[in-house]
């Protein structure tokens, strides 16, 4: 059975268990009063907190305005059903759509900011929403809030409405669970773990973040809409900045890596202050102290702590997979030019890191770029892959001018790379890392089963198949390099760019790396490699370009390059005056 099928089966099982649990809870829950309120409160908040898990846990973006989204959703239902006579479910749907759109809009305007700035803009948004809800009394009913919000027909009773909330919650949990293992979910996690690597794996970082924000907001809208129906009453102070902090704390306490964490965190924080009420005046103080303690002692939240002991990922089946298609091709070096740079330059202020370099890479060749430290090699690679915007010059891939393209668009055209300072997605397993490479747009496989098979084939090729299920961070340094290479190879690249693949490897590992590169040769895949280890370069390179001070000083076959006096001078300095 394929992993994907197993995942589907697992999802269906969990989903059914969830729905059964919901039925049970709704059946035994009291139909009125305090405990019902607590349960509904927890269920609706949990939906919003799952949204935070997606934006913060999956996608790594910090948002402090979840209560504002919750409020917008709640007011859509409150105002829609009351003032405009829209049926409940239509109003709820409208609420989800509107919050989703607001989330996307906020994302579009602010997501090219990051970290503290994004946090601040979301706070500002939160404050403005609160102010509008309070002060635009003609529309929002002002600080009094909206009373007598109806529940939909057939869901008027406490238990039935709780059942509805819980069904939505389970659906959202299943959605989040499926999302995490989907292409989009993996893209989000890739963005979280390493934006640069994500973009060179073909992930549109900006789009992914915006979608994550939209989903996050839409879920808060759903939770808010249900909340309005649950309590029949909403007012602006229920959706204040303080509540955003509470929602964030719920996500963090439970653990942001998983939707189940959201559920645990929400239940704990809804119930905990209620239990802590015996502390009277100081219970909120205890709550504040608890937040600090969680950050210090439980960085991955309750779920992180639990899942660490409960779950061990099972090894992936070892059934044979189709080898990488690129290996079955055979081709010699042709005269066709795959990659060409013309007068490529990059200046940082006054520093000319790359200064008008021409390179022509022939199809099927292994082309090396060497030069002393600081000669501009990595800058060159960043220009080719689009991580830097060129100051001048042109980059062409298979004759097409790609100078203006974003990194992920270049990847779509078949440009895959590795990094000198390894950039793997640390929160993901080895297999998931490679799958992200395999599912780049423009690759010749589609569908999770085929993509997984391709990823396993790539891992087979680099000899890490038996480690596929491990978190990538558990692998030794050398193996992480191979994961990066497998990730790039799984995308069946037109051209593979390797940035110092041998850096940090010991001599045995270096020999293995050389062998791996030898095995890749002669199948029509073009390789563009930077490295300092000349023994590696001279084993694999068909052609070498040498840079010094950002300029090309040699461009020839290996033997000629290594005996080129200017090259020797660049590395070893001018020959000593022997008579001295």
């Amino acid at each position: 059975m394929s992993t994907a099928a197993a995942f589907r089966q697992k999802t269906i099982t969990y989903g059914l268990i969830g729905f059964a649990a919901v039925m049970a809870i709704a059946f035994i829950a009291p139909s009125e009063g305090y405990y019902l309120n607590i349960l509904m409160h927890a269920a609706n908040y949990a939906i919003a907190v799952v949204g935070l898990v997606i934006v913060l846990g999956y996608c790594g973006q910090f948002a402090l305005c979840q209560a504002a989204f919750l409020g917008i959703g709640a007011y859509c239902v409150g105002l829609g059903t009351g003032d405009y006579g829209i049926p409940f479910f239509v109003a709820l749907f409208l609420g989800v759509v509107i919050t989703g759109l607001v989330g996307i809009f906020l994302g579009l305007t602010t997501l090219n900011l990051n970290g503290h700035y994004l946090g601040m803009v979301t706070i500002a948004f939160q404050m403005i929403v609160t102010m509008v809800l309070t002060n635009w009394a003609g529309f929002t009913h002002g600080p009094d809030g909206i009373t007598k919000i109806p529940r939909p027909a057939g869901f008027g009773g406490g238990s039935t409405y709780l059942g509805l909330c819980l069904v939505c919650l389970v659906a959202v949990l299943v959605f989040a669970y499926v999302l995490k293992a989907s292409r989009l979910g993996r893209a989000m996690q890739a963005v979280r773990d390493n934006e640069i690597a994500a973009s060179t794996c073909g992930v549109d970082v900006f789009f992914t973040k915006t979608v994550a924000f939209g989903i996050c907001a839409a879920l808060a809208g759903l939770g808010g809409g249900l909340f309005a129906g649950a309590f029949n009453y909403i007012s602006p102070d229920q959706f204040s900045f303080g509540e955003s902090v509470v929602l964030l704390t719920m996500a963090l306490l439970g653990g942001v890596e998983s939707a189940f964490g959201a559920l645990i965190g929400t239940v704990l924080l809804v119930v905990l202050p209620e239990w802590l009420r015996f502390l009277r005046q100081i219970y909120l103080a205890v709550y504040g102290g608890a937040v600090i303690a969680i950050m210090i002692f439980m960085p991955r939240g309750v779920w992180g702590l639990v899942s660490k002991y409960l779950f061990k990922t099972a090894p992936i089946g070892s059934a044979p997979v189709k080898p990488l298609p690129l290996l079955s091709r055979s081709a010699t070096v042709s005269d066709e030019i795959v990659l060409e740079t013309i007068g490529l330059a990059k200046y940082f202020g006054g520093l000319k890191a790359v200064d008008g370099v021409d390179v022509k890479v022939r199809k099927g060749s292994v082309h090396a770029l060497i030069g002393p430290n600081g000669s501009g090699k990595t800058t060159m690679l960043n220009l080719i892959t689009g991580l830097y915007v060129a100051t001048a010059g042109t980059v062409k891939l298979s004759g097409q001018d790609i100078t203006a393209l974003k990194p992920h668009d270049r990847t779509r055209l078949g440009m895959c790379r590795t990094f000198q300072n390894i950039r793997v997605f640390r929160g993901l397993t080895v297999l998931e890392n490679v799958i992200i490479g395999a599912e780049r747009r423009g690759n010749d496989v589609e569908g999770i089963d085929d993509v997984t098979e391709r990823a396993l084939a790539a891992l087979d090729f680099v000899g890490l198949r038996d480690r596929a299920h491990l978190p990538v961070g558990d692998l030794p340094y050398g193996h992480q390099r191979y994961v990066e290479i497998a990730r790039a190879l799984a995308g069946s690249p037109e051209i593979l760019l390797l940035d110092e693949p041998a850096a940090g490897l010991n001599s045995t590992e270096k020999t293995e790396m050389a062998e791996l590169l030898q095995r890749l040769k002669g199948h029509g895949t073009t390789i563009f490699i930077i490295d300092h280890d000349m023994r590696l370069i001279e084993q694999v390179a068909d052609h070498i370009t040498v840079l010094n001070f950002g300029r090309r000083i040699a461009d020839d076959d290996p033997r000629s390059v290594f005996t080129h006096p200017e090259v020797i001078a660049a590395y070893l300095g001018e020959p000593r005056n022997e008579t001295a």
Binding site: P30, A137, D144, T147, K148, G157, S159, S235, W275, R280
Partner: protein
């Protein structure tokens, strides 16, 4: 999906025990009254005074042997000064199932929040929120223990126009339910007297500076100021800045202008201001004796924040005695039947909407001391 109430009860008590609230076995020996006050949050100060007022009432009843041979007992919950906090606190109290009545909040917006729940709960709920609309929603269980702002506005307008003879009115109000509705009522009351305010300014609760508001009032040339400002810190700030910018027009404000806290904060800046006060120590003998006891016990002056919970407890005790029962519907009937009940806030005659008081006192701040000026009452 309906379940037998026994099953629900079993589950509730199971959960209750889990949650650490085992309902004590001594439940039968006292008559329990719920009390919801802000114990945390920005107006926890008021919660403290409210609790003390209610406690004094309970102590007085119990000292006289209780009601129907049983002592009264208060069960207090924190509403955190927020609406959701109020909803939770109320449902938590109702869930106990052993209360005969609840003394709730003096914030109108919080009463709005629990209006629907209280209909379901079916217990008399005493409250101090003065938003006139609270007694027009047809909730049979709401009993207001203070006069509504419909009367405070009428009294302010009447006193300003007919006694002080002022025609150029400036109104400053908070943007919350209390302030907005109060100012609406005042504008309406002034209109009846043929006066249009020259300036109306609204402020959010908790401000850093009110210079723009004060300057706007000064520029309008108003010869009288009235205010519906909820927070005492805002009143204090407003008072000081009026004084600084030489705005000396007489000020007739809502009760927050004459509270102990406001007078402590603003000091001389509030001297000579008038305010409507549902509670004034000199207004009637009940208020006078309550003030003395309160002062003796706590060493500070009583005001409306403690007066109305005290009245609520006394009203409840009287109703239970009259009904000779603690059944909610009988208490309600007894409350409606009470005639000319003399409380610290005035003379209660409840109508079916739960409106009991129809007048206000005018008091003046004379060098920090509250001096009773007059009581103005209206017929229905």
């Amino acid at each position: 999906m309906r379940f037998s109430s026994r099953f629900v009860l079993a589950l509730v008590s199971a959960l209750g025990i889990l949650a650490g609230f085992s309902t004590a076995a001594s439940a039968q020996e006292t008559i329990k009254v719920g009390l919801i006050v802000p114990m945390t949050g920005p107006i926890a100060e008021i919660g403290l005074l409210q609790t003390e007022g209610a406690k004094l009432g309970v102590e007085k009843i119990n000292a006289a042997g209780g009601v129907l041979g049983k002592k009264l007992e208060l069960v207090t919950e924190d509403d955190q000064a927020t609406n959701p906090g109020m909803v939770l606190a109320f449902s938590k109290l109702i869930n106990r199932g052993d209360l005969v009545a609840v003394v709730a909040s003096l914030r109108s917006t919080q009463m709005n929040a629990i209006s629907e729940d209280s209909k379901k709960a079916g217990l008399p709920v005493f409250f101090g929120g003065t938003d006139p609309t609270l007694t027009t929603t047809g909730n049979p269980w709401f009993f207001r223990a203070r006069p509504s702002d419909a009367y405070s506005a009428k009294v302010i307008a009447d006193y300003g126009v007919n006694v002080l003879k002022k025609k150029k009115w400036a109104i400053v109000h908070s943007t919350d339910a209390f302030g907005t509705n109060g100012s609406k009522a005042l504008i309406a009351a002034l209109k009846e007297l043929g006066v249009e305010p020259v300036v109306v300014q609204s402020i959010n609760n908790g401000q850093t500076d009110l210079t723009p508001v004060v300057l706007a009032v000064r520029q309008s040339g108003a010869d009288i100021i009235s205010s519906y400002v909820a927070y005492e810190t805002d009143v204090g700030l407003l008072a000081r800045q009026f004084k600084q910018f030489g705005v000396t027009a007489p000020w007739v404000g809502s009760p927050s202008v004459s509270t102990t806290t406001a007078r402590n904060l603003a000091g001389p800046a509030l001297y000579d201001t008038y305010s409507v006060a549902d509670f004034a120590a000199e207004a009637n003998p009940e208020a006078k004796s309550f003030s003395e006891e309160f002062n003796k016990k706590l060493g500070r002056l009583a005001d409306y924040t403690s007066g109305w919970p005290y009245d609520s407890v006394m009203l409840l005790a009287a109703a239970i005695k009259a009904a000779n029962s603690t059944a909610p519907d009988k208490i309600r009937a007894a409350l409606l039947a009470l005639k000319d009940f003399r409380g610290t806030e005035g003379v209660y005659n409840y109508d079916k909407n739960g409106e009991g008081l129809r007048g206000y006192n005018i008091v003046q701040n004379k060098e920090g001391k509250i001096v009773f000026n007059r009581t103005i009452t209206f017929d229905k």
